[in-house]
Amino acid sequence: MSFIYKIENLSFSYDSKPGNKTVSDSVKKFELGPIDLEIKKGKLTSVLGRSGSGKTTLISILGLLRKHETGEIQINLEEVVDIKNLWARQKDIEQFRANHLGFALQKGELLPYLSVYENAALVSRFVNRPESEIKNSLDGLFDSFYAREKNDNLLEQVLDNKPLKVSQGQLQRAAVVRALANDPDIILADEPTGNLDLESGKEAMRIFRKIVIDNPKKSVIVVTHDVFLAAEFANEIIVIKNGLVKKIFISHDEYWLSDDERIENQHIVERITKELE
C-alpha cells in the first residue's frame, strides 16, 4: 500500500524557533523526534498520545503549519512532493494548504460572521472555483453529512444560520464539511471529538471513516487522546510518547467492511493503554 506521508528522521524543537512568540516558556524546551514513519494513503490514521506528548506538534508539521528543522517529509499525491521545497515560498505553502489539505479542529470554530454554508464555501471561493461547482460539491457533502436535517426539511435553515445558532454536533459536521469542501487529498483533524459527548464523538469518527470508505484516494489523520474511539474506528494507530513514535497498531481489514458489525477490539485497547503508561 502506498504512503501519503513518508517521514524520515524528523525532529523539531521550540528552542530552534526563538522568534516564535506564541510559544509559552513552559513548552519552550519541547522536542519532537527523531521520527521515522509512513502514514498510509486512503486510510483513517489516528495519532494517540497524552497531553504534551507531541501529537499536535506532529500534525502541525504534517499540516504545513509548522516548519520542521531536520529530516525529510514527502507527501505522495499524484506525484511525490518534498515539504522542504514548499517551505521555500510562503505562497506555495498557502496554496498547498488551500488546495490539498483540509483541517477539522477542536478549536476550529467556524467564522462567526459567516453562515454555515458560507464558512464551508470560503476556501473554494478563495481558490476561485466556479460558484456552480462549489454549490454542487457542497450540496453533496451537506446531503451526506446532514441527512437527518435534510429528512426533517431543516437543512436549508441550518445552512443559513450563523455558527452560534446551530448545535455542537451540527457545528462539528460543518467543520468537517468545510475541511472537505475543496476536495482535499488529506484531512487533518485535531481532537475533533474533544468537545463532544461519547455518542457525538462516535458520530464524528464515523464521518471520518465514511470519508475514506467513500473516497479511497483521501487520507484522514485524526489526533485524539481517546483510545476507545481510535481503536474502534482507525485503520492505523500511531502512539506518540515524549516526542517519539512508540508503537504503530494496524487493525484488521475486515474491521472496515461493515459499519454495523464492528468488533470491539479490546485487545488493541489494552495494548495501547499499556504503551501510553
Partner: protein, 620 residues
C-alpha cells in the same frame, strides 16, 4: 492569478470584511465614532479657515479694483513709448490676464480755487478709459487752509473738445482722497455745476466742492456718467502748440543732420559741448500770486541725499521766449510735470514724496559750457555718476522738446514724417495707429490669485502699478499661508491621533480574533488576503468616521450659517457663510482619511501576519 481571479479575490475579501463589520456592529460603530470624533474638529477648523479666506476674498472681489490693474511705464520716453498691438497681445497672453485695455490721455486745464479765491497748483492730465463710461482725473492740490471748500474750475473748451463731451454735465461726481500721516482717506461727493462763463478767454466751468475738513493735500477724481471717445489727432500738428505746455530738458536722440535741422527749426542752437559740475536742488511748493514758482530753499544735492527723499535730477532753467518768426513760443521749465502725470520725461528725473514735488534744478549760472566734443551733462549724486545727453541749446540755455516733438523727430529720422519748415510743422506721412496709446494700460486679471504675479511681471518691466488690489491680495495670501500652515499642523496632529486610534482599536479587536485568523490561515487563506480583509475594515472606519463627522458638521454648519454665523459676520461687516467646504478641501480630507486609515490598518494587521496558525491546534 489572472485579472478576473484577482478581482474575485478583492471582492471576496471585501465581502468578508463587511460581513465581519456587520457581525461585530457595536464594536465597528464604536471605532467609527472614535474616528469621527477626531475628524470633526479638524473639519470645523479647516472649513472655518476656508470660510474666513473666502469671505475676505469676496470682500476684496466686491471692490471695483479687485481684478483690475492699472499700469504705466516708469520711463515713458524710452525707445518704445506706445502700446503697440504686439505688446498688447504679449500682455494679453500672460497667464492670469483676460484683457488688456490701452489707455489714452488728453490734457485739459483745471484750476482749483479755495473760497477765498486762492489758486491751487493742479496738474491736468486726464486718463480716459475706453472700456468704462467714465473718466478719471487725478491731480494734486495743496492748500494751506481751505476749511470751507473749493471751486474746481475747468476749461469748457477742454471738456467739450478734448474730452468730446456733447454738453457740460450738470452733475459731476468727485472722488477726493487725501493722505494724512500716511493714511489715506477717501470721500465721494456729488457736485452740481453752478454755471459756466460763455465767451471770453476762459470759458470756465465752476464746480464747487464743499469741504468739511481742512484741506491739505488732496487728490481729486472726477467722474461723469458718459463721455465720448476722443477723435484721432490730425495729420498736421502745430509745432507751437506742441512745445508750449510740458517739455523736456534733455533727451536721447541722435544729433544727426536731420535732427539738427529740426532742432534748429524750432530755435535750438545745437551744441555738443556742455558740462555741469555742480548741481543744486530746490523745493517747489506752489505758485505765488503772480504764477511764479517760489524758491524756498536752496541746498546741495549732497544735503538732499542726507534726507529720506529720493533724489532725481532735472536741470533748472527759467522760462524762455522762443522767436519762430511769426510765432513766439515760450519754453517753460517742466515744473508742472509730474511723474504720475506721465510727462514723458526721460531717465526718471523726478523726485516725488507724499505728492509734493521736489525737483533738482541746476541754476543757469552754474551751467558752464565746456569745450570739446562731449554732449553730456555729467552729474554726481552721492557716489553715482549720471550722464545726460544734451540735444540742443537755446540762447546758451538747454533747450526743451516735449515728448510728441521727440516722437516726431524720431519719425522724421525714420522717414515716416517730414518737417515742413515753411509752416513750422511736422507732416506725418504715415499715422501711427498707436500714437494715442501711451504706455498706460488697464489689465484685467482672471482671478485674485493672478493679481500678484501679473503686477510683479509689470513691475519687473519698469511699469508702475498705480492702482490694483495687490496689497490686499498679498496680505490675504499671507494670512492664507499662515492659516494653512497652522491647519496643516493641526491636521498632522489629528492624523496621527487618527492613525493611533485605528491602530489601537483594530489591534485589540484582531487580538481577540486570533483564533479566527489562525483558522483562515490554516485553511490556506494567504496572509495578504487576510490583511486585505482588515485593510477594508480600516478603510471603512476612516471613511465612515469622516462621513459621520462631515454629516454632523453639515448639520451644525447649517445652524450656524442660518443665525449665529450671519449675526457674527454682520458685526464684522462681512456677508457670506462663516464655514466653507470647497471640493478640494473635501477631496483632501477623503484622500487623507484613506491614507490614515490604511496606515492605521496596516500597522494593526502586523499582528495578523505574525499569528502562528499552529496556535489553533489543541495542545498549543
Amino acid at each position: 492569478m489572472n485579472r478576473r481571479d484577482r478581482f474575485s479575490d478583492i471582492l471576496l475579501s471585501l465581502k468578508l470584511a463587511f460581513a465581519e463589520l456587520r457581525h461585530y456592529r457595536l464594536s465597528s460603530l464604536f471605532i467609527t465614532l472614535v474616528v469621527a470624533a477626531i475628524c470633526l474638529p479638524l473639519i470645523f477648523v479647516a472649513s472655518l479657515k476656508e470660510g474666513y479666506i473666502s469671505l475676505i476674498s469676496d470682500k476684496i472681489e466686491s471692490s471695483t479694483q479687485a481684478l483690475r490693474i492699472d499700469i504705466a511705464v516708469r520711463n515713458a520716453a524710452s525707445t518704445d513709448q506706445f502700446l503697440t498691438d504686439s505688446l498688447i497681445n504679449e500682455y494679453r497672453n500672460l497667464e492670469g490676464v483676460t484683457e488688456v485695455v490701452p489707455q489714452k490721455t488728453r490734457t485739459i486745464g483745471v484750476l482749483a480755487q479755495d473760497f477765498s479765491q486762492q489758486d491751487f497748483g493742479l496738474s491736468t492730465t486726464i486718463k480716459t478709459d475706453p472700456d468704462l463710461a467714465r473718466f478719471n482725473f487725478e491731480g494734486t492740490l495743496d492748500s494751506l487752509d481751505s476749511g470751507e471748500g473749493l471751486n474746481v474750475i475747468m476749461n469748457k473748451k477742454d471738456l467739450l473738445e478734448e474730452l468730446k463731451f456733447d454738453s457740460i454735465p450738470n452733475t459731476v461726481y468727485l472722488t477726493l482722497s487725501r493722505t494724512v500721516n500716511g493714511r489715506r482717506e477717501d470721500f465721494s461727493l456729488e457736485c452740481n455745476l453752478i454755471g459756466t462763463i460763455e465767451g471770453g478767454p476762459t470759458n470756465t466751468v465752476f464746480v464747487p466742492v464743499m469741504m468739511g475738513k481742512r484741506l491739505e493735500r488732496w487728490t481729486l477724481g472726477f467722474r461723469v456718467k458718459e463721455y465720448g471717445l476722443p477723435a484721432a489727432p490730425n495729420n498736421e500738428e502745430s509745432l507751437g502748440e506742441l512745445v508750449a505746455d510740458s517739455c523736456m530738458a534733455v533727451s536721447r536722440i541722435n544729433l544727426n543732420d536731420k535732427n539738427a535741422l529740426a532742432l534748429d527749426a524750432i530755435g535750438m542752437k545745437i551744441t555738443r559741448s556742455f558740462k555741469a559740475n555742480r548741481l543744486f536742488y530746490n523745493i517747489i511748493q506752489r505758485k505765488d500770486s503772480s504764477g511764479n514758482i517760489g524758491l524756498t530753499e536752496l541746498q546741495t544735492v549732497e544735503d538732499a541725499l542726507a534726507t529720506n527723499f529720493k533724489v532725481g535730477i532735472i536741470p533748472f532753467l527759467p522760462p524762455h521766449k522762443l522767436d519762430l518768426g511769426d510765432t513766439t513760443v515760450t519754453l517753460f521749465p517742466s515744473v508742472t510735470a509730474d511723474p504720475r502725470q506721465r510727462s514723458l520725461l526721460s531717465e526718471g528725473n523726478w523726485i516725488n514724496h507724499f505728492r509734493s514735488r521736489f525737483e533738482i534744478l541746476v541754476p543757469k549760472g552754474l551751467l558752464p559750457v565746456a569745450n570739446g566734443s562731449t554732449s553730456m551733462i555729467k552729474a554726481t549724486v552721492g557716489n553715482d555718476s549720471i550722464n545726460y545727453m544734451i540735444t540742443g541749446m537755446v540762447n546758451d540755455t538747454v533747450g526743451y522738446i516735449n515728448a510728441e516733438t521727440l516722437y516726431r523727430l524720431k519719425q522724421v529720422e525714420a522717414g515716416i514724417a517730414t518737417l515742413d519748415l515753411e509752416k513750422g510743422a511736422f507732416n506725418t506721412n504715415e499715422k501711427s495707429p498707436y500714437e494715442d496709446r501711451f504706455l498706460y494700460a488697464r489689465i484685467h486679471a482672471v482671478s485674485l490669485q493672478d493679481v500678484l504675479p501679473v503686477t510683479n511681471y509689470f513691475r519687473d518691466r519698469e511699469y508702475e502699478i498705480f492702482a490694483s488690489s495687490q496689497s490686499q491680495v498679498a496680505s490675504l495670501e499671507q494670512v492664507n499661508g499662515m492659516l494653512t500652515n497652522f491647519l496643516l499642523l493641526i491636521n498632522l496632529a489629528g492624523g496621527i491621533a487618527c492613525v493611533a486610534s485605528i491602530f489601537v482599536l483594530m489591534y485589540e479587536a484582531i487580538q481577540r480574533k486570533k483564533n479566527q485568523v489562525g483558522i483562515m490561515r490554516a485553511m490556506g487563506l494567504s496572509k495578504w488576503f487576510i490583511t486585505r480583509v482588515y485593510l477594508w475594515q480600516a478603510l471603512f472606519y476612516g471613511l465612515g468616521g469622516f462621513l459621520v463627522s462631515f454629516l454632523f458638521f453639515q448639520l451644525v454648519k447649517s445652524l450656524l450659517d442660518s443665525s449665529i454665523g450671519h449675526g457674527l459676520l454682520d458685526l464684522q461687516g462681512l456677508d457670506g457663510n462663516i464655514f466653507s467646504t470647497s471640493t478640494s478641501l473635501t477631496v483632501f480630507f477623503v484622500l487623507g482619511m484613506i491614507v490614515i486609515s490604511l496606515m492605521g490598518g496596516w500597522f494593526s494587521t502586523r499582528s495578523v501576519r505574525n499569528i502562528d496558525p499552529a496556535d489553533i491546534l489543541s495542545d498549543q
